[in-house]
């Protein structure tokens, strides 16, 4: 019960009931007073007229005449609506239908008083509220009143009506509260059950929603959206952990087998060395995956934004193209470079270079024999620089586009090629760091990978001299001494 009262629906219902009662009282009270006032005024008039008549009798016939008049009147009593009492100065009743002087002063005036009307043949009306008028006739006191018998049923009905209204209001209010609470509780319960199912690990569940768009429904829809996102993320994490497990487990398993083989078989010297070389290669694979993951985490955390400097994208791309040119030539692929010489933008030269080499690397992997790869750097009017690598390879199906940037995802086309499936993830992370995303556009045939470096305000520190006098101008990342932590051995 306490829980029921604490429920918000019940609280609301109780509040409504109280408000309803207040309205009822505010409505009934003036009505009651107006009614009572009208009755009182009317009666006072009647009583005064009555008193006048009795006074006339007294004046004409004296006290005995009045006594007999009163007696006669009481005998012929028109029901018990008249209260009459004549007393002498000592308050001894001389005539009338009241046994004793009621609790009113003898001063002439109108009073409201409780009176007990005696049995005078017409029935006992018992104690009741009556309006009385008191007059003094010589040394006698006369009390004239009317009882409320006529109005009693009306008043009673008024009170019954009010009580009924209160009862109906309260019961209806409680019922509405109860029903609302039940409806609310059933929906809240279903939400609670769903959520507890989710807590226990079943992310497939969704909150029930209705067509009607009420508050709870809106909330449910929002929560469902959140659950979709969580499921996606959990799925992603699960995929990544599976992939990590796979990518690390495979070389580790090979390594283990090799070492175990060496320990048990004890092969010849040459074979042993060959196995050790292979084992070192296995370890290197593990380290590579590790490094790539750490680098991604580092970029994702946004730690490197502080290291932004002014970067000439043309230099950076030219270096990368030149770096890959011999390899492309060897594979019979044409590698072209184009730039409209945009002004420098702020960015991380090391990461941008790595992202670009990853893109060219990918393009080389997937370009057909005698294929074409084009690297282009274009400035946009708003100061951003677009870096694009276009190949005429098989491209990426739309369905796969979202997946290729996922960590460890390896498309069907890349099976059997080296790599851990982290290349495009890194490009994506670098693009994100520079305020854009990696766009993969169809160039039928082929694919264009595009990242945009948006002009972010440079850090407060003034940019240093572009490149040292001895350093070759085509060096990509010699933009700032601060960002060149590795000593360039060959440069003086």
């Amino acid at each position: 019960m306490a829980r029921m009262i604490r429920s918000s629906a019940m609280t609301l219902a109780l509040g409504c009931i109280l408000l309803g009662l207040l309205a009822l009282v505010l409505f009934a009270a003036p009505l009651w007073y107006a009614w009572q006032g009208t009755i009182r005024a009317g009666r006072t008039e009647i009583l005064q007229a009555d008193a006048q008549r009795l006074t006339d009798v007294y004046r004409r016939d004296g006290v005995d005449g009045l006594k007999s008049f009163i007696d006669a009147r009481i005998r012929m009593q028109i029901a018990g609506d008249r209260i009459l009492l004549l007393t002498d100065a000592a308050r001894h009743p001389l005539a009338g239908n009241l046994p004793a002087w009621p609790d009113v002063p003898t001063r002439p005036g109108d009073y409201r008083v409780q009176v007990a009307i005696g049995d005078h043949g017409t029935g006992d009306h018992g104690v009741q509220m009556a309006l009385v008028h008191v007059v003094r006739l010589g040394s006698y006191d006369l009390l004239i009143g009317r009882d409320n018998r006529l109005f009693a049923p009306l008043e009673q009905r008024f009170w019954y009506g009010l009580a009924g209204a209160i009862a109906v209001l309260s019961i209806a209010g409680m019922m509405i509260g109860f029903i609302t609470r039940r409806a609310l509780m059933s929906r809240v319960d279903s939400i609670r059950q769903t959520v507890s199912a989710i807590i226990h690990g079943d992310l497939k569940h969704r909150l029930p929603t209705r067509l009607r768009d009420d508050e709870l429904n809106t909330l449910s829809l929002t929560i469902n959206g959140m659950l979709d996102q969580i499921e996606l993320l959990v799925h992603g994490v699960r995929n990544v952990s599976n992939a990590i497990a796979h990518d690390l487990r495979t070389p580790l398993a090979e390594l283990r087998t090799r070492l175990e083989g060496l320990a048990t078989i004890r092969p010849s010297r040459d074979e042993t060395f060959a196995e050790i070389d292979a084992a070192v290669a296995d370890v290197d694979r593990v380290i590579r995956v590790f490094d790539a993951l750490l680098r991604l985490a580092e970029i994702d955390a946004g730690l490197r934004r502080s290291g932004f400097v002014s970067v000439d994208m043309t230099d950076l791309a030219a270096t990368a193209v030149e770096f890959y040119e011999p390899a492309a030539e060897l594979m019979g692929i044409t590698l072209r470079f184009e730039s409209d010489q945009p002004p420098p933008v702020s960015g991380d030269p090391i990461l941008l270079a790595q992202a670009l080499t990853n893109l060219i690397d990918n393009a080389l992997k997937f370009a057909p024999a005698h294929g074409r790869i084009e690297v282009s750097v274009r400035g946009r009017p708003d100061g951003a620089v677009q870096l694009a690598v276009t190949d005429n390879g098989p491209g990426i199906r739309d369905a796969e586009k979202a997946k290729v940037v996922e960590r460890f995802y390896r498309g069907d086309a890349s099976r059997g090629t080296p790599g851990a499936g982290l290349g495009l993830s890194l490009v994506q992370a670098v693009a994100k760091l520079h305020g854009s995303t990696l766009e993969l556009l169809d160039r039928r045939p082929g694919l264009q990978a595009l990242i945009t470096v948006t002009p972010a305000p440079l850090a407060a520190e003034p940019p240093g001299p572009p490149a040292g006098p001895g350093a070759s101008a085509e060096l990509a990342s010699t933009a700032l001494p601060a960002r060149q932590p590795y000593p360039t051995v060959a440069a003086p």
Binding site: D277, V280, V283, D284, I287, R288, D291, L294, R295, E298, L303, R304, G307, T319, E322, F323, Y324, P326, A327, L330, I350, A353, Q354, T357, N358, D361, L364, K365, P418, G419, G423, S472, E474, L475, A476, S477, T478, A482, Q484, P485, Y486, P487, T488, V489, A490, P492
Partner: protein
């Protein structure tokens, strides 16, 4: 070379010290910062290998800083498991000359120590570099082998210059990436090998004696020796 290794990991230091001795270097080992500081300050070494995280109250970088402040110019290679770019920058700013992250290949360590030592002996920009009959003039950027001039692209020139400045030493792919292209990451494909073979085409193909050699599991070496 006389080398000091400051490293607390027993296994790593044993392995490195043994390897360095086999390569013909005299090697001292300090297992903590205090000993390392003492040895580095008092003995004349050619190169110091400094681990960053050391037991006790003295950190690797602090030793490097103190040594630099007291005017010691001994080349220092910082060895650390902290691989973040920021950590590298901190290491090099404190006065280290090179930074190698753990885990590392011994060949890489050896090659970098050689390079550091060579660099510390001073580089004369004007003196032509000679390896056998191959001659490179840094000032005029002329390359000849025997009597025949060899035409090189700017980057090929840079590559050859680096190799020749480290003649008779193993130079790893990572070292080439860092110093010739300024790439501080590992591209997925072995593009460096292609550059080397292109260079080899130009300097070795038409001659009886190949000078540019591939050292298995390590890198490359240019040498006139047999």
């Amino acid at each position: 070379m006389k080398i000091l290794m400051v490293e607390d990991n027993e296994r790593v230091s044993q392995f490195v010290v043994k390897g360095l001795q086999e390569a013909g270097h005299t090697t001292d080992h300090a297992g903590n910062g205090r000993d390392g500081m003492f040895l580095a300050a008092s003995e004349p070494y050619d190169v110091i290998i400094m681990d960053r995280m050391l037991p006790g109250d003295i950190e690797g970088l602090a030793i490097v800083e103190v040594l630099r402040k007291t005017g010691k110019r001994t080349p220092i290679l910082i060895l650390s498991a902290l691989a973040d770019v920021d950590d590298r920058i901190r290491g090099l700013r404190s006065g280290g000359d090179d930074y190698l992250t753990k885990p590392f290949a011994f060949g890489e360590l050896l090659a970098r120590l050689d390079a550091l030592h060579r660099r510390a002996q001073g580089v004369n920009q004007e003196v032509p570099l000679l390896v056998g009959d191959l001659r490179l003039e840094p000032m005029t950027r002329k390359v000849t082998r025997g009597e025949r001039p060899i035409i090189l692209q700017p980057r090929e020139f840079k590559l050859l210059e680096y190799l020749m400045r480290h003649a008779d030493q193993v130079v790893t792919r990572t070292m080439l990436l860092e110093s010739v292209w300024d790439y501080h990451f590992d591209p997925q494909t072995n593009v460096v090998d292609v550059h080397i073979s292109k260079l080899r085409q130009k300097i070795d193909a038409q001659f009886d004696r190949p000078l540019l050699r591939t050292v298995r599991n390590a890198g490359y070496m240019i040498t006139a020796a047999d």
